[in-house]
Amino acid sequence: MSLLEFEHVSYQYPGEDFDIIDDLSFSVESGSFHCIIGVSGCGKSTIFRMTNGLLQPKSGTIRVGGKPIGEQKHYCGYMPQKDLLFPWRTIGENLALPLEIRGGLSKAERRERVDDALADVGLEGCRDKMPDELSGGMRQRAAFARTMLTGSDLLLLDEPFSALDFLTRISMQEWLLGQWEKHKKTILFITHDVEEAVFLSGSVLAVTSTPIHTLTEVPVPATYPRTRECLTHPDMVALREDLIDVLRKQVRT
């Protein structure tokens, strides 16, 4: 069953004379993990910002769980590139934000859910710390836990690891796959890092041209659970080179 569907969606930024998203249709199966990969400024983030309702499409319909997004709330959890932990709130208070806004839970219930979420991402004991006491990787895990607490099945992760150093990034990637397998969420993950896309995705959705007419679905020849060793498999290496090739062509033109 497809969880997210784009149907002939177009979007034009004010002040531009073309549609950056032009009649785009695609769908995402429930429980899948896709990376959307494309060069900088190609409009990948625009797809996310329409899905989470921050931008209104010029035309077309976006459905989540079969219903147009205009008719529902709390259908997706969005995690931007910056962790955006509020510096005046403790980690626990930051995680409680989606619950506070959604309402309907007592303070004790919220606290319980936050503690569970923190334990889940390996940040037990960080509830009363301030964000600036945490390392970059820990902050991203806290931000991910906050995204999980939106309670949505669809998670939109917009380059969440791109600001991390290489070693932290690869361990966060492994960690994220673990979380995905554990919680059976549907994850869309924007990146411009080809290796990251290949390692994480069931199939890669490549942006091959701007404006975006289609997303080219490229299946990844590897099964879950994965370790980084699978990246050395000849099929994976070939896929990586293919993708790099496709993206480089775009940069040149």
């Binding site: 989470n52 921050l54 005046w88 506070e100 806004i101």
Partner: protein, 251 residues
């Protein structure tokens, strides 16, 4: 902390040297009705302690306090309204700025005609001087809230109200404290100006009366008291700030 303490000693020595220069200079001039020495001022302060501390200091503090409260209410109100509606911002901002181009000392005698010799004419002077920094600073603070954070909350389904309380208010809090720290000394000045121009009590009034008696030390004594009161108030605000704002400067 140690570093800061080490900085205190040179500062104290510097202050002491300044006072010493003043003392020597005033002794040289030897005309206490124009330029009293610091020691003469302290002596006068002690001699006049009864009327100063029981009548005039409370009177001035009342004007300052009432003026500050009204300024806070007005300044915060204007800041919130201007942040909330771009249209009102366009209407109000020029008026707020224009209010500061009024030479307060020139127009204050009119306030006495309008509101009499009671506290309200002085309160008005105080408010006119004080509400401006509060309005502008708090408004800037509300504007400083990051749109990315607001967008994140919007994806959680937040209302405008949620965004105001959960992002804008915490963002504006450090600005708010800066505003108060500016406003406190200004409100003291405002009260003193008001009293200078027409009053029956207060440190500004007392200072003026001493002037007519050519009592130089008597002019300075209430002013010293006024400065001390303002510095004390700013220090108290600083303490409250340290409790309330734990994250100034981050990000």
């Amino acid at each position: 902390m140690k570093q800061a303490n080490r900085g205190n000693l040179p500062a104290l020595i510097f202050l002491f040297v300044l006072l010493l220069l003043w003392q020597l200079g005033a002794m040289e001039v030897n005309a206490a009705y124009i330029l009293p020495t610091p020691i003469q001022i302290l002596q006068r302060l002690w001699e006049l302690r009864l009327p100063l501390f029981t009548v005039h200091l409370p009177a001035t503090m009342l004007v300052t306090g009432v003026g500050l409260l009204i300024s806070l209410a007005l300044g915060l109100g204007l800041a919130v309204v201007m942040d909330w509606s771009p249209l009102l911002q366009k209407c109000l901002y020029p008026v707020v700025v224009a209010s500061q181009t009024i030479p307060t000392t020139a127009i204050a005698p009119l306030f006495v005609l309008w509101f009499g010799y009671g506290i309200w004419s002085k309160v008005l002077v105080t408010v006119l001087i004080t509400f401006f920094p509060i309005t502008i600073t708090v408004y800037d603070g509300l504007r400083a809230a990051k749109t990315e954070m607001a967008e994140l909350l919007l994806t959680y389904g937040a209302t405008k109200r949620d965004i105001f309380w959960k992002i804008k208010v915490p963002c504006a809090l450090p600005y708010f404290f800066s505003a108060i720290k500016m406003a406190v000394p200004m409100s003291v000045i405002g009260a003193a100006i008001g009293e200078w121009l027409g009053a029956q009590s207060g440190l500004g009034y007392f200072s003026r009366r001493m002037m007519t008696q050519l009592d130089g030390a008597g002019v300075f004594a209430p002013i010293v008291l006024l400065s001390a009161a303002a510095m004390l108030a700013v220090a108290v605000v600083g303490l409250i700030e340290r409790k309330a704002v734990k994250w100034r400067g981050e990000s």
